[in-house]
């Protein structure tokens, strides 16, 4: 198969083809019998893999675990429910005990991020412009087990180092260290428009053993933004996010216990407005005690961050 045809088929199957490319594909399918046959073979291969005919449950599946981030986990069942007549929803979920048995095992959410910090190259410690796919924020590093703290999941976790960032040398009151993650919601726009989507973020926090005189807290904040409001610099995020967010939510601040063998799991959620295009997740650890050194965090960690999108009936 010619390379350019192979590339056209791949772009169509990966959802990248433009209108012009699809028009070209259409023309060739109608006029070139060899291209038609090649397309049918290509889409059969693609369809067999995408529909799970050959990959899911295959005995030959690779040993490496397959993350489920981003994939619909039987999302279809829930995502169409709000479109259906009220009778359908009632029928599905209430008409019979059998249905009640059938439906609950179906997972109702899409995992947007499943972060276990196993990639040591994850860029951190920078408050340059937020971008999707990377963590931004105060100085931090990816570490293995240390100071009696073992990663909550996998072999690595993120350690907050200082409550500062590039270009800020002597800020006042540096007792809160933060990490930001930008999530592009636009690919899921069709699921947001009716206001029936809820994003849930959970993360585990921990710290090395510390005396009773010291106090550490952690929290998660979520900000839904339209594209124009995504901050171009993370250094002034606080007020920008609060002022420009079209919806926001924050967990209560939770105390971190002094036992390094236990993690504190926090979860918070936000119902996304129909016009939300981006989500900013802000994780923070604070040290609130008189002798706390400015900027320096001796041993505070976060691990196992999960961000999921699910459907719930829009509010009346």
């Amino acid at each position: 198969m010619p390379t350019e045809l192979d590339s056209l088929f791949a772009r169509a199957c990966d959802g990248l083809a433009t209108a012009e490319e699809l028009a070209e594909l259409h023309r060739r399918l109608r006029t070139e019998p060899a291209t038609l046959d090649a397309w049918l073979r290509y889409t059969a291969l693609h369809g067999d893999m995408a529909a799970g005919t050959v990959l899911a449950g295959s005995e030959t599946a690779a040993a490496a675990p397959v993350a489920k981030s981003g994939g619909w986990q039987a999302w279809t069942w829930l995502s169409w429910a709000p479109q259906a007549a009220a009778g359908l929803v009632v029928g599905l979920f209430a008409a019979s005990m059998v249905w009640a048995y059938v439906i609950p095992p179906v997972v109702k959410s899409r995992l947007l991020l499943d972060e276990d910090f196993e990639n040591p190259a994850a860029p951190l410690a920078s408050r340059t412009a937020l971008e999707t796919g990377v963590w931004r924020g105060d100085a931090a590093e990816i570490v293995g087990a240390q100071g009696g703290v073992k990663p909550e999941r996998g072999r690595h976790m993120m350690r907050f180092l200082r409550a500062d960032f590039d270009g800020r040398t002597k800020p006042a009151g540096g007792h809160i260290a933060v990490a930001y993650r930008l999530i592009d919601l636009r690919p899921y726009r069709s699921d947001l428009t009716d206001g029936g989507a809820v994003v849930e973020v959970s993360a585990s926090f921990n710290a090395v053993a510390f005396p009773d005189s010291e106090k550490y807290g952690c929290a998660i904040s979520l900000y839904a933004l339209d594209a124009e409001s995504v901050p171009d610099r993370a250094g002034r995020l606080g007020s920008t996010l609060t002022n420009d967010a079209i919806a926001m939510a924050r967990s209560s601040r939770t105390r971190i216990d002094p036992d390094p063998s236990t993690w504190q799991r926090l979860t918070t959620e936000l119902r996304l407005p129909g016009n939300a295009e981006f989500l900013v997740v802000r994780l923070h650890i604070s040290q609130g005690f008189e002798s706390a050194p400015d900027f320096v965090f001796t041993g505070s960690y976060v691990d196992d961050v999960r961000i999921s999108l699910s459907r719930r009936a829009p509010l009346p």
Partner: protein, 180 residues
């Protein structure tokens, strides 16, 4: 059993069919709308309509052909509604695709068997990424971050892997047809 009980039993049976055939339906839709995200949108629309029309379903008939008929209409709707795909809605391309697919059916069936063998022969890294993309539906951006590659590089890798699988299938078919 009273009327409500009968209705409930019928709906339970319908629901079981519904759930059993979701994957074959997705595969059917992917023939015409190959982007998985778009195909899932069409699948959702199909499922809604199937449920709305459940009273019309004749339980003595096979479920999947009936469902595919509705899915076919949803594909046409999708082509018409989405500007990118409007070229496909201009004429009866679907009939052309169906007719040729039927002629190639024995070969396509053989190719699926060969695909299983070829997947087993893939290098572990390629196989893992293929699993993540297809079975795990992991976004390419996530795979790129995990692999320390660019998004473009991951798309290229997927393209090369599919190409390698097609070549492997061709070799397998040629070997089978070669005289002993």
């Amino acid at each position: 059993m009273d009327a409500d009980g009968n209705r409930s039993a019928d709906e339970q049976a319908f629901l079981r069919q519904f759930m059993t055939e979701e994957r074959p339906l997705l595969r059917f839709i992917l023939r015409y709308v190959p982007s998985v995200a778009d195909a899932r949108d069409v699948l959702q629309e199909t499922l809604v309509t199937l449920w709305e029309k459940r009273a019309e379903f004749d339980a003595t008939r096979e479920f999947l052909p009936w469902a595919c008929g509705i899915a076919r209409n949803k594909v046409r709707e999708f082509w018409r509604k989405h500007p990118r795909w409007q070229a496909f809605a201009q004429d009866d391309l679907m009939t052309l695709l169906d007719a040729r697919r039927e002629e190639l059916a024995p070969e396509l069936s053989l190719r699926m068997e060969k695909l299983r063998d070829c997947l087993a022969k893939l290098p572990p890294e390629q196989r893992t990424n293929l699993d993540r993309y297809y079975a795990g539906e992991e976004p390419v951006e996530t795979i790129a971050l995990r692999e320390g590659r660019t998004v473009e590089a991951v798309y290229k890798m997927l393209q090369r892997t599919r190409r390698a699988l097609l070549d492997c299938i061709e070799r397998g078919i040629r070997a089978e047809r070669a005289p002993a």
